[in-house]
Symmetry: C3
Subunit: 415 residues, 3 copies
Amino acid sequence: MSRSLLWGLLFACLSALPAARGAEPQRWVLSSASENRRTETFHLDGARLTPQQPNWRVDQKTLHGGRQEGCELLVVDNGRLRITLIPTRGMSVLEVVAGDLRLGWKSPVAEVVHPREINLHSRGGLGWLEGFNEWLVRCGLESNGHPGTDKFINNTGDEASLELTLHGRIGNIPASEVEVVVDPAPPHRITVRGTVWERSFYGPHLKLQTELSTEPGSLEFRIADTITNHGAQEQEFEILYHANYGAPLLQEGAEFLAPVQRVVPFNAQAAKSVAKYATFAGPTVGFTEEVYCLYPLADDQHRTLIALRNKAADRGASIAFNVQELPHLTLWKNTAAEADGYVTGLEPGTNFPNNRRIERKLGRVPKLAPGATRTATLDFALLPDAAAVKGTADRIARLQSRQKPVIETAPEKKE
Amino acid sequence: MSRSLLWGLLFACLSALPAARGAEPQRWVLSSASENRRTETFHLDGARLTPQQPNWRVDQKTLHGGRQEGCELLVVDNGRLRITLIPTRGMSVLEVVAGDLRLGWKSPVAEVVHPREINLHSRGGLGWLEGFNEWLVRCGLESNGHPGTDKFINNTGDEASLELTLHGRIGNIPASEVEVVVDPAPPHRITVRGTVWERSFYGPHLKLQTELSTEPGSLEFRIADTITNHGAQEQEFEILYHANYGAPLLQEGAEFLAPVQRVVPFNAQAAKSVAKYATFAGPTVGFTEEVYCLYPLADDQHRTLIALRNKAADRGASIAFNVQELPHLTLWKNTAAEADGYVTGLEPGTNFPNNRRIERKLGRVPKLAPGATRTATLDFALLPDAAAVKGTADRIARLQSRQKPVIETAPEKKE
Amino acid sequence: MSRSLLWGLLFACLSALPAARGAEPQRWVLSSASENRRTETFHLDGARLTPQQPNWRVDQKTLHGGRQEGCELLVVDNGRLRITLIPTRGMSVLEVVAGDLRLGWKSPVAEVVHPREINLHSRGGLGWLEGFNEWLVRCGLESNGHPGTDKFINNTGDEASLELTLHGRIGNIPASEVEVVVDPAPPHRITVRGTVWERSFYGPHLKLQTELSTEPGSLEFRIADTITNHGAQEQEFEILYHANYGAPLLQEGAEFLAPVQRVVPFNAQAAKSVAKYATFAGPTVGFTEEVYCLYPLADDQHRTLIALRNKAADRGASIAFNVQELPHLTLWKNTAAEADGYVTGLEPGTNFPNNRRIERKLGRVPKLAPGATRTATLDFALLPDAAAVKGTADRIARLQSRQKPVIETAPEKKE
């Protein structure tokens, strides 16, 4: 038997063994550039590992065919929620499903496209859209937002120009390290960690440490990320969590709920409809996107809460986050025809999705000192019934009760 | 034995079983993004499947080494013709061989380059040429023709500019679905179907359904394609069948035969030699391409017939197609040195290969309504002897007999 | 057992057998596009093949995880030196290690990035830097040097413009043919040959035949390359050997030794420090690169010798090369912070690393006639102690003794 095959077999067996035992969390390394390994398929079974709480599993598979060839999926099923992550696409989350409630949408891009198929510079810097179909994709890190020319300091110390591409690179970089951790102590929290490096010589050396975790039987999960500047100099960065929702949660009469200090239309197109920014139309052929820039209100711990609910107010989904970590919130309304992608995006971020050139001018591009980190912790919940929706709506109303929202009727002055 | 290996073995076995039996055509799925499968190697044997007509086979293999790593080839041998398709490169046809007669050419690009190696934007939008070595490659679908700036409507509803790249993307997109179908009834027609998606969010959602079929023992085969607009809005598209022929069929004194209403030189360079547009020079170092735009004459069923024959008129190849489907015919003469690619292209299309900006202005960019389709059916024949060549030449002459061709001496006014 | 698996096993066994026996050199083909093969792992063992000289080995492995997925490494261990080549990245050399002496550096790019991850046009034509971490990477062949606009003759015979990207493509093209040859006669020289094609239809057809060889037990190795123009027309080309050294050899007080006729600062930034061009600073946060263009002095056989030595002058590394083959020598000083890449490059080449447009204007872009070749032979030595350093320094001093170096204080006039 060939050496490569033997290694493959040995490796497949080893990878099914936890890296640590006992009271410590159990840890399985699925993929690791530093240890030179990658797992083709993987399976963890709650019934075997935590017999007292058997109803969960974790599975990895590799996709085949077309532009998805070689792309990995990692599915965490907590017994109530099934969360599908894409390690090959920067740890994006393809969808989250709980019965008839689904976080996700139906993009015209039906395959999970391997980043090696994507040219971010295509179609005037919109190449990112050829792979865009995730429920949650991070935008950044060197930049996010609209494509267009910006300046940078090149290797010779001179100011040079570069073409930034839509929403940056992080969603199209394969994770270098992927591991699953299961807490041996009840409630046996399941955690997936992925490390994605966005780095270049004479460029940024940014590490994104992602973490998604959930408890068996829960309708909630958390994303807790850390961005670290591994360079020796101060480094600009941007991150935006592009969370996208389609039918059936999104429908005519669905509503966006958020406690807001101020709402600003992104452009003249959005300004026309700012009065009804929080309600959604049904699928509309030829609809042009409407984008709103929001400044959310938060509690004393700086947490805010936003939600999307269906027309009957008996299904919904919410996101709680910290406005010191993610002070800007973008609402992207794209109620186009189903075939073109009927979707809305709820997008907490460090900035709004203008080109970085504009965001920098307006003071919304943060910097990381050498070795410094920035964290973002987002708590997601599925709201399966009217009571859950009402509970969330009430909490949002309480946050809003402190002040009336200011609704701007004109876009920000940008250039 | 690891799970992945077991699946691999099981899968390899299953994939050699037909998907349907009995009077129905027998169908084998080789690759499928929707079913998440890909076949590394595959073999169908006429002797086993149709004992009364044993002399055919179908084989798939995967290429290795250099820039071809991971590229698939699918070889249909009908007992007389050996047709090599490239599922990984948009279902292009690498070559068709029958004894000493070969449809194909010798490109300086000797490897079958994997699309993930290609940057279409390289060398001023000519990156497509780094993989160009097929006998037949489709050019399109969002656009084909020369690289250069064109306009489009971007996500914000604004007109924006993009750089179109030479001959578009379809020839560098791996097929999402590939299947082989064999008719259980004589003459046991063998059909290869491939589905190639050219799609992007905020972009075209075009499906190309390709079909290549042939009968055991025949010197003919058919390509029957369907393009469908899966978007909710009207969509421009272009397709051009770039069929390329080199030595020995192409040689000094070889002749191009076509019934033409009008011949227009593509540019000033071609205009110089328009009088002898239908005859070929031998390999010529430093030859600059000459391109002619032809409006073919057709019969009452709108079918036209074109051919290439060698100097002795005892070897040739023909293409029949429908001028309502493909009204424009481009003749590309590139009788350069053998080392640089001695080749001519016979190119039926929806348009001529100007940049889409020009073709649109001149009214030659068709549109598809939502859900609408456009078909193209091309019949290819190898002409193995003088009689076959004469028969084809006579049919072409009959089509021409209705009117004398108009030979323009100046290029079309373009901008 | 599936056909593919059987072939895989058979192949793995066959590939461990030499292609020829007896007095002839023993040859193993590891990868071959022309023979459609690729080896996942490979091992040669000196103890088995040359029992009288058992202390060497050759190993190939494939990298996994992150952006290095599928990248091959080939490690030649001559018993004293361990040389790691990267066939997938144009036969670059990742590092050379002998005990505590290492040729190489610590780039912020920690993974060996697969070329399919790289877009050379990224970041204003600096995409090459996303994979830059090798000790030795060849820059070329159509062009090397700074990114920027240049002209070329396109398919229509017209002058068109293209954006050249930093240091060209050759370092990001997988080798098409890779073989290992071991001389059965003492001293059993081990040779790795790799063929890398840089070719495009309507573009260059350049073949780079690389060869790296060493003898068991030696602290020296040789790179002997041949570039051939396989096109039918004269072809410009450029090659530069970008050899990069970091700590601990590079340190404050380390010194560059070279016999030079003339030293010209590359730009105003370098001009400021030209007086101390040959000595190095320690890691310096925010250091801007300093580049010097050198015209080396050579002996009567046109060989020159350059070296880098540490502060104590008891560790060093040298390069000998032929100034008729490589007349221009670039010294790149980048004594940045360790985290940003503390490194210096010693870069013999056909040209200096200006954009090709400038190099052409200044008469430094060579051409190859059809079928013509250009060779480059470079001898590398590790200098493990003060005696070895002194021996090399003395040889360099003798070459310099013929004339005093001219140190220019202003950059060359370029445009």
